[in-house]
Symmetry: C2
Subunit: 184 residues, 2 copies
DNA sequence: ACCTGAACACCGTTCAAGT
DNA sequence: ACCTGAACACCGTTCAAGT
């Protein structure tokens, strides 16, 4: 075992990474996940090669952004599992994820594609969803045979609608589907 | 008024137009509406300039395809308005449009964008939807204040889901939302 | 170890020249 | 009147050369 231990990254590399993530977040919010990566690099003040050095694919960049943004969301999901009203908890969860996933146009499609690079995020999302679904079913609050997969599909579709219709209209769709899913 | 009357198109131009539409239909089914137009032209055996001559924008090409494909759908919609069970008629309509709009990946997004070039199709779709919604409401089969706009959003979202999830999973979403929209 | 930016590839779009 | 395809523009991606 002569292998060197993983060294801490160079300070400028770390700084470039942070700037790239910050600018990618801003650009993706404005233009969606299909935005020009050249533009992201320019705004971050680095050469395009530096961006590819840190994030070999567009999806890797998206995954890194989610890694940061998801912490809060997952904590919220875990907290919801302790709530007294399982039906409300499930509905709140879906609404929270939809708002979250609608931040970038194209993110819903990226999640739905279930690529390897995003599977960590997808896994956690489905796990929390399934837990809340199970609780709601046990409480008799679920209509029919609704599954965690149904919840995942609904979240993605509603997030997509938020980027292609008005948010208000997308929320109506979401309420409609939740009404079909949850009793009373 | 010396203006020449609109002449009938040259036979080769007509033939090129037909071949372009046929190949575009095939390519869009395989690869979605974002597919390479160069590829469409190649498959149709014409130069790329010929494609742009007939269809100045990608959306114009999509609109021309819908023009053909929509006839049957609209006829079906009109027939549904005569059906005895308004709730079933509305549900059947939504399902038919979704299957129709899911033929090309990206079509749902194009419809949701409501561009000028597609407004004819969108107009007809919403008009038929609204008529069926009104009948269902009069029959007391509609939950809450569901509107034609809700139906339009649902159709687009479900069509999107069909291209990004399994069709079966997308159909479950559709059934869920319909259950939230239509009374028993 | 990381950064740079020129180089290459690919595709969308236009338009002058043909028939 | 319509078709052709070269020409231009733009952007994604790689990689040899620098520090």
């Amino acid at each position: 075992m002569t292998g060197a231990a993983t060294r801490r990254p160079r300070a400028d590399a770390l700084r470039n990474r942070e700037r790239l993530l910050a600018e990618a977040d801003a650009v993706f919010r404005e233009q969606g996940t299909g935005a020009s990566l050249e533009g992201v690099a320019r705004r971050a003040g680095v050469a395009i090669g530096t961006l590819y050095g840190h994030f070999p694919t567009r999806t890797a960049l998206i995954a890194a952004l989610l890694d940061v943004r998801n912490r809060e969301l997952f904590a919220h999901g875990d907290a919801l599992a302790e709530r007294p009203d399982p039906a409300r908890a499930l509905a709140d969860w879906v609404r929270a994820v939809v708002r979250h996933a609608a931040a970038y146009q194209g993110l819903a499609a990226a999640l739905a594609a279930r690529s390897d690079e995003l599977q960590d995020s997808c896994h956690r999302l489905t796990a929390i969803g399934e837990r809340l679904v199970d609780r709601a079913r046990t409480a008799g609050a679920l209509r029919g045979d609704t599954t965690g997969a149904d919840v995942f599909t609904l979240m993605n579709a509603a997030a997509w609608a938020r980027g292609h219709d008005t948010p208000a209209q997308a929320d109506r769709l979401l309420d409609l589907a939740l009404a079909g899913m949850i009793v009373g």
